[in-house]
């Protein structure tokens, strides 16, 4: 808690907490980053699950930079928002679940993209790789639940534990 107390009293944290436009600007970035991340990974996952078979799997690899940009925007904006109220964020179980889900979803995405984009073979062979469909389905669930946790946290900051 000492670290978190220190963190929320740093000049950056105070700037985010007290400047009128900083918080909504960071939230806007966080929302747009979310759309980039879920949009691109969502399409890759759905394609693996059999949706829009006209999209070549190898072509969906070009959506990964979109996902990374979205993730980077959200890592930055999320960290900034966190610093402004670090103690409260960290003490919320909903927030902890969200962060845990993001870590798991990130590992999930890394394993899936490794299998999908380095195995070679045609699309039918790629989606038939062991575990690939399960990883695509779990990825969708993890990201959607992470978004929901973020909203629950925002409106139940003190009694969502």
């Amino acid at each position: 808690m000492n670290f978190l107390n220190w963190l929320q009293n740093t000049p950056v944290a105070i700037f985010v907490a007290e400047t009128l436009w900083a918080y909504p600007l960071l939230e806007t970035m966080h929302t747009l980053g979310m759309a980039m991340l879920l949009g691109s990974l969502g399409l890759i996952n759905l394609r693996v699950l059999g949706y829009k078979r006209a999209l070549p799997i190898i072509g969906t690899r070009d959506l990964l930079p979109v996902a990374w940009i979205g993730f980077s925007i959200n890592a930055f904006s999320g960290l900034m928002l966190f610093t402004s109220d670090a103690v409260n964020f960290f003490s919320s179980n909903t927030f902890r679940v969200k962060i845990t889900l993001i870590v798991i979803a990130g590992i999930n995405a890394a394993i899936l993209s490794r299998k999908l984009y380095t195995s070679g073979g045609d699309d039918a062979a790629l989606v038939a790789l062991p575990g690939v469909k399960g990883l695509a389905a779990s990825s969708l669930v993890f990201w959607v639940v992470a978004v929901i946790c973020g909203r629950i946290y925002a409106y139940y900051p003190y009694y969502s534990y």
């Binding site: 806007t28 759309a35 879920l38 006209a54 072509g59 979109v66 629950i152 409106y155």
Partner: protein
Amino acid sequence: MAFLQWLETTAIADAVRTIPWLYPALESAHYIGIACLVGGIMLIDLRLLGVAKKLPIATMVTLLPWVWAGFLINLVTGGTIFIYGATGFGTNPPFQLKMALIALAGINAFLFEIAARRGRNSWVIDGQAPAMVKGVATLSLILWMSVVATGRWMAYV
């Protein structure tokens, strides 16, 4: 104003006010709607602007139903939240701007639907968006980003 005040006395407004989980549930659904709407339209727009060229434009434009589904989800969830706080939202300048931007983005999306349908045998198949379509795609990205921005801004005014 009388109409806005009346909205706040309806059963819907009352439900949002008294059921503790309803507001975060509506917000969650609104955000999933954003992911479908903005995530979907952004993928289409980026493809039209030349990102991920191995994905055929003809297939990417068939993602439009996700955009409309997201729009519908957000119309219902946003509408419900509006009814609950009608006097506050209705008189909030960033909210009014947000609605105007959604109308513009909607017109833009509608123009795109027409362009995509009309072009099914030409540029959609070739995979080369003409300059006019790229303009529509750029405008679409700017408008939806502004919609999200005004949506966050309105909460702090």
